[in-house]
Chain length 290, copies 2
């Protein structure tokens, strides 16, 4: 039985140390933007994406603590944070709290939130370049662009309050969330030198885990309290967001999430004990709703 | 005598064709963001940065039309446009017109302008990755981050209406404008395989041209009409922007711009006839105020 909490803690410690080392000190001119970058990067993220990179890397024979993996993990957390800071802006989701803390535009200003997000995005690519691996840069840029995360975000914003259908929800989940998570898992495998057949299985795993992650997030938004979530509960429904529970209801959504997690576990079963941590991570995501 | 207008036209044609080829069609889902990206990319930019990349590349023995140079040129124009789209946002410079056309957030929406800018930034790195050159990605990411363009933009926004001093204006010019232009010139040299000594001279040239470009932009904002500029004339002074004319007046600013252009020409004199187009481009920038 893999100790997933222990692994999450170990992975989060490594990525936090790497982010701390990489980010310019808050005192460096212009200090406002460096302060904001550090504020958002250390606002209590769960480091799920770095954890998936590291787990995929180890499952493919890589060693924990590898420098390129630490760099890639820090970079994806910067990219994730960039997307959250911009998503929270008044002209987008207009959220005042995230993880129980004021969002960047509330803690600082809208202008600084835009620029801080831009800076995190740009710096992430600089950090990725330090791995010396062009394929990793391509993989993440494709997952984040209009054929992935940004595309999903555009449709998410545009679908608000317009009634929801399954096709739209599926597009948003696959692009806004799953594409990025899938890319993280693949990057872990790529940096361990995994063969194409293994990368294909990791792709399937990442997709199933990514979709499950978003469905569960939608369920928690319906069921959780504001205190549990660290942000306004029920805000998806209030905004008329295109979510899985909005289309199929909570029971069906939970069943679907379970199926996705089961599928993810099957995707990496061929790895045997080496894939234990990937299976455990998928199961861990499941426990958020059980 | 180099025909600089002809060169600018030839370079702009190549970069426009490359951008056209690279950008997803407006009809591709989600079409709103692809439409917005194309709108901003083809809103009449002068393609100064691509032109400088191409000219530096040729000055170092590279061939016009080289695929990597076309890709890098298209990518820097995407990065430049991303910065303009975000700069124009209501929470930033709040500009309604640029180059005589409504800015992205006026033509579409604030949310789409944020996302379109993000998408252009991300896609630019994907395009840069196609050159296979890590050093080019590093060079541009460093020039655009908080130690360059974003840093300059942060100080620019924060200095508005606070009185201006030379140190602040110098910081803004060097970081907001010159760092990016310098990097473009260097990328052209790097992709032609220029030796370090040549790259050092190109760095000096890029810095002088970049500073001159911004000083002249500030002069034009004071002297030009709204019709000539395609945006509100005098808006810098109205907003209390930290500009060179605001500190030293127009006459001193014009003298300084001339000195910078002269210095840029000296920086590339050692290249002989091969550097003619770089000299001609510097002189061309000078003609904007003479």
């Amino acid at each position: 039985m893999t100790n997933v909490e222990g692994y999450l803690k170990k992975a989060a410690k490594l990525v936090d140390e790497t982010i701390e080392e990489l980010l310019p000190p808050a005192s460096m001119h212009p200090s406002s933007v460096h302060t904001a970058m550090r504020y958002s990067m250390f606002a209590g993220g769960k480091r799920v994406r770095p954890c998936l990179i590291m787990a995929a890397h180890e499952a493919c024979g890589g060693e924990f603590g590898d420098r390129n993996i630490a760099l890639a993990s820090a970079a994806v957390e910067m990219l994730h944070t960039f997307s959250l800071v911009h998503d929270d802006l008044p002209c987008m989701d207009d959220d005042d709290f995230r993880r129980g803390k004021p969002t960047a535009h509330k803690a600082f200003s809208e202008a600084l939130a835009v620029l801080e997000g831009d800076a995190l995005c740009i710096y992430a690519f600089e950090v990725l370049a330090r791995t010396g691996r062009i394929a990793v840069i391509t993989e993440l840029a494709q997952a984040l662009g209009t054929g992935g995360m940004i595309g999903g975000q555009v449709v998410d914003i545009e679908s608000e309050g317009r009634g929801v259908d399954f096709k739209t929800v599926e597009y948003i989940h696959e692009n806004k969330t799953a594409a990025f998570i899938r890319a993280c898992v693949r990057v872990g495998g790529m940096l361990a030198g995994a063969p194409t057949s293994t990368l294909n299985s990791l792709t399937a795993y990442g997709n199933h885990v990514g979709l499950a992650f978003q469905v569960i997030d939608d369920i928690l938004d319906e069921e959780g309290t504001t205190e549990q979530l660290g942000k306004d509960a029920g805000s998806d429904r209030e905004k008329g967001k295109a979510t899985f529970p909005a289309v199929f209801g909570l029971d069906e959504s939970k069943k679907y999430a379970q199926e996705l997690i089961d599928a993810a576990c099957r995707d990496v079963a061929f790895l045997g004990v080496r894939g234990d941590i990937l299976t455990a991570l998928a199961d861990y995501i499941r426990t958020r709703i059980s």
